[in-house]
Symmetry: C2
C-alpha cells in the first residue's frame, strides 16, 4: 500500500494560537514537514530566520513573488507574508505530509490551487480571550490591536469554508484534535494506492 | 457550536478483527453508542444475547426484516445478519455517534441509505494471517474455512468504496487509527452548526 503525501493548512484569525499549536505537535507525526513562510515583518523576540520565518526585505519578497515562487501571499497589517512554492511541491511529490499555518486570505489562495489540501480552522475560545492574547503579546499599538480584533471577527465566519475546526480553549485538547485529523487523513482510501 | 451525530461503519472481510477492535475502543469515546446486530446464527462460547448480538430464530428475523425494522441485512454462510433501524435512527437524531460492525454487503446497503455515514475498512495483515485466525477460532468446518477465505479475497477489493482503511497488524495501532478517525470526523465543519 502506497500513501500519497498531502498538505495540511492550519488557519484562523490572528492570535488564535496557530504557532503555539504547531510547535506543540513538533516531532509527533513521523515524516511530517513544516513549511516555513517568508515575511517582511520584523522578527519578534526569540524568532529565528529559517526556523520561524524567512525574514525578507520588501525587494526580496517582491522578487520571489513576481517570479512565481510563492504558492500564496497576503498583506497583513502593513507586512507581506507568503508560502514558498518549491518546498511544498517537492515535499508532497516525495510523499511527505506538509503542514503550514497561514492566514485566511492565504488559505483561500492555496485551496484554490490545491483543492485536495486539508484545511483546518483554529477557533479562539472567545473574542475576550483573543483580545487578551493580542494585548499580552505587547507588540501591537492600540490602533493595531483594534484592527486585529475587527479583522478576527470578520474572519471567524470563514470557518464554513474549511474541512475541520478546532476550538483552542485547551492546548492539550487542540493537540489531540489536530493529531487525530492528520492521522485520519493519512488513512483516507483516496490517498492510498492498493495493489 | 452544536454537533450533529454520525454513524461509523466498521467493515471488512470476516475475521479481519472487527469485533476485537470495537471491544478495544469501548469507553474511549464519550457518548458513542454501539449498534447491536441481530443474527440467526448460534452464539459462540462467551457471546451474550443483547451484548454481542440479539440472537433471533429465522421466523423472528423475517418478521423484523419484513416490517422494515432493519437498516440492512445480509445472508452469510447460511445465517442472517441485520442492523435494527430504530436504535440507530433515534441515537443519531439525539446527536450521538453510533458505531456498528457489519460485513461488506451490509455496509453497501447502509451507505446507499445513509451516504453521510463514515465507512472504515478493516484490512487483515495478510491472507495467511487471516486463515490462521479463522482456523484458530475453531468454529468452522474445512469447507466453511475455504468459503470464508474465498470470500475474503473477493471482498478485499471493495476497500476502494470506503472513506478510510485501517491495517490490522497491531491492535494498538488499529485502535489509535480508529479513535483518530472518529475524533477527526467529530471536528468536521459540515457536522457543526456555528452560531
Amino acid at each position: 500500500m502506497k500513501r500519497r503525501g498531502f498538505l495540511v493548512i492550519l488557519s484562523g484569525p490572528s492570535s488564535a494560537g496557530k504557532n503555539t499549536l504547531l510547535s506543540a505537535i513538533k516531532g509527533r507525526v513521523p515524516g511530517m514537514l513544516y513549511s516555513i513562510s517568508v515575511t517582511t515583518r520584523k522578527p519578534r523576540p526569540g524568532e529565528r530566520h529559517g526556523v520561524d520565518y524567512f525574514f525578507l526585505d520588501d525587494a526580496e519578497f517582491t522578487r520571489l513573488r513576481d517570479s512565481g515562487g510563492l504558492l500564496e501571499w497576503a498583506e497583513y497589517c502593513g507586512h507581506y507574508y507568503g508560502t514558498p512554492r518549491e518546498f511544498v511541491e517537492d515535499s508532497l511529490a516525495a510523499g511527505h505530509i506538509v503542514i503550514t499555518d497561514i492566514d485566511i486570505q492565504g488559505a483561500r489562495q492555496i485551496r484554490t490551487a490545491m483543492p485536495e489540501a486539508v484545511a483546518v480552522f483554529l477557533m479562539p475560545p472567545s473574542l475576550e480571550e483573543l483580545q487578551k492574547r493580542i494585548v499580552a503579546r505587547g507588540t501591537d499599538s492600540e490602533a493595531a490591536i483594534k484592527e486585529r480584533m475587527k479583522r478576527a471577527v470578520d474572519e471567524m465566519k470563514y470557518v464554513v469554508d474549511y474541512d475541520y475546526w478546532i476550538l483552542n480553549t485547551d492546548l492539550d485538547q487542540a493537540v489531540t484534535d489536530l493529531l487525530a485529523i492528520i492521522t485520519a487523513e493519512r488513512q483516507r482510501v483516496e490517498r492510498t494506492e492498493f495493489p
